[in-house]
Symmetry: C2
Subunit: 422 residues, 2 copies
């Protein structure tokens, strides 16, 4: 072996203490971190198979579905998005993407990469799209797939989905949503809303690390995926289908991923075991606390944060009636240097709040209350630190006002001591 | 919210004790498991950025390169494979894949999905491909990319790569290798061997969980990727390039992944933080123990296992001179039910050994000695259990013969007490 240059070996990983109150990633629940240090097992070990089945069932509960096709895609949230779009849409087919923030652009971008004919409609950042505008576009474009973000952290808006499934049903359109930023902190009803596909990530309201994408398909979506089946040459057997119309990705072919998670257990990737453990624990915590209770905890934390930032004299961006429970965008006051103030939050208090993208860049901070951090103490600590930093940069604040407003909100909304501390 | 069906909530993850001596995944190093339970930080936190830079440098050391483009692809090992192939090859371009096992078929499959014109040459399972056969095919096919597996766990063969770079250089062909099964347990010299791209996974000799794919590109490969640059609409700025010739995947566009890992830190995915911690720790352990010492430890463990299985009267599959250090395929003796015996290994001793694919299905077991498990006690415990199980199924074995042979090998090859216990 040739000589290699000497390397200075760094120490073991030792992250600083942070309270992650940005738009995500956020702190993982302690038990999710612990789950990832559990020992590994083989990929066809009976324990592994059982853990996969449990995880599928736990996510059915989180999604609000009885659909069979509940899996994890091994990658970050956009891996799930790409798997859904590239598996459901053939090159040249039309995709309609209503855009109300950055992540609508991402869905359009991913559909373009998949060689779809992409049509978009847009509303100004800070608004959501009306069902009638969506139906008008569906009628005009006649897409194969409607791809719609549920919660776009770039604007904090939560797109209502409950009337969209009927529109898609009427016009024979597959209905996909990206619920990365919203799932677990806002209502989600896969079956009741008539969805065909949905994907998410762990790093927002689910309270885990990025790197695994819970994904669910309706039976109708599974039929589309199955019609494009192609089992890879190395493990193909006589009689297995080989469609000419195959998905233009091996990794993201949901048909093969379903065969891996399903009773055939056909080898595809080697499941990311530690991320499976993490994903399982995220959903297990929701099932333990109660799906409705977790959402209610996010609503309380979000409303308390909203009351607090307003008491600090900050203006909230966008249509507050359609805000996600778990993140708020506040306008950076005149005279306050946005990035310097964020750095002070991090350096002086170990608290991270978020910057923003595109048209909002430099104009708003985004403050999240998600997953494990949808907690009273996390809300109050963040407001206290923000008060200090705003005062330091000359923004007029009344000491204690934010604490008072947020704590008052918690007192008003307390559900007989059920405020979870997870 | 609609009522949801009650769910039976399973307990926290609690895997059984296993010793994973198959072809991978294998047990992670304890410190890799610990690293994954470290707390999260924000994706642009100075600590995160520093950890990413450290990880890039550690993998340069593992790969034997000074190339700038050292990153992780967030997914399992085949995510790295697909990222490399789909980023380097345009639809319609020719890819040459010499096949000597299942994973050659996988490279061909992934290149077909990327709409490349795929040409293959094949040798029987158990052999490797000669440089002259590769050069003959390169001259005939004139591919854009040669895609060649280094170590194929399906056959245990280690393809020599040291003469292939010159061939590719002479004929203007990009040279990519999949080192998933081999990296860390066998020599690897990215620069000296003239490689343009290489990818791996953590779950073999690197001793981590599946779910992160170390990936490296030469400057020449980076130039190809850059020529196809397309920054996504949501974060595109005036002057940013938009090639018509874009990579047909957003998630696997190595140009965007490089921009995320590079000084621009352009948002792409949200890095899988816990998997980054794991990947960093895997490479850190190699740097601490010494790259050559880790490979030598794999060689010793592999040779001891080989001596042991032969002492059990088992016949080894394939060209042993070209076997990977870290896995051996042994023919299942006549009269021994292969899967029942494997199940007995797992149930009675908690030891997993591997089955096999394709033409070897039901004919061989695969026994690995990788990463943390390239250890004397793991080798000897596996041989002892295998002796019991073989005896139970009537295969004639002499008690203690395998222990003696393997322990003798360790005594003969001991490097002044440097046998690592990690």
């Amino acid at each position: 072996m040739p000589e290699t240059a000497p390397i200075t070996v760094p120490g073991p990983i030792s992250p600083p203490h942070r309270l992650l109150m940005g738009p995500g990633p956020v702190d993982a629940y302690p038990s999710v971190l612990s789950a990832m240090s559990a020992r590994l097992v083989g990929q066809y070990d009976p324990f592994m198979t059982r853990s996969m089945v449990e995880t599928q069932e736990l996510y059915r509960h989180v999604w609000g579905t009885t659909a069979e096709a509940s899996v994890l895609v091994d990658g970050t949230s956009r891996a799930g998005i790409e798997a859904a779009i590239t598996s459901l849409v053939r090159p040249g087919e039309r995709v309609l993407v209503p855009i109300f923030g950055r992540f609508g652009h991402l869905l359009a971008e991913i559909a373009e990469r998949a060689m779809a004919e992409v049509h978009t409609i847009e509303v100004p950042w800070g608004q959501v799209v009306t069902p009638s505008a969506i139906e008008e576009a569906v009628v005009r474009v006649r897409p194969t797939l409607l791809a719609l973000v549920q919660g776009d952290t770039s604007t904090t808006m939560l797109q209502p989905l409950d009337e969209i499934g009927d529109i898609c049903e009427r016009h024979g359109v597959l209905f996909y949503t990206d619920a990365t930023a919203s799932l677990g902190g806002n209502p989600f009803e896969f079956d009741a809303w008539g969805l065909d596909a949905a994907t998410a990530g762990l790093q927002k309201c689910l309270g885990g690390p990025s790197g695994s994408s819970p994904t669910v398909l309706s039976d109708r979506a599974v039929a589309v995926v199955r019609s494009r089946a192609r089992i890879e040459a190395g493990i193909r057997e006589a009689g297995d289908p080989v469609a000419g119309d195959f998905v233009r990705s091996n990794y993201f072919d949901l048909g093969m991923i379903l065969d891996y998670w399903g009773p055939r257990r056909l080898n595809h990737h080697t499941e990311a075991t530690s991320m499976l453990y993490a994903a399982r624990e995220c959903a297990r915590l929701i099932a333990l606390e109660g799906r409705a209770a977790v959402i209610a905890r996010h609503v309380r934390a979000g409303e308390a944060m909203l009351a607090g930032v307003r008491a600090l004299g900050l203006t909230v961006f966008g249509d507050v009636a359609h805000k996600m429970s778990n993140v708020v965008a506040v306008k950076i006051p005149d005279g306050v240097p946005g990035d310097v103030a964020r750095a002070a939050m991090l350096e002086d208090f170990g608290i991270e709040i978020g910057t923003s993208f595109g048209p909002l860049h430099g104009r708003v901070w985004r403050i999240g209350t998600m997953g494990y951090n949808a907690r009273r103490d996390a809300v109050l600590a963040t407001l206290a630190a923000l008060e200090q930093v705003l005062a330091r940069f000359g923004h007029p604040v009344r000491a204690g006002a934010a604490h008072e407003a947020a704590a008052d909100h918690y007192r008003g909304s307390a559900v007989d001591g059920r405020e979870a501390t997870a």
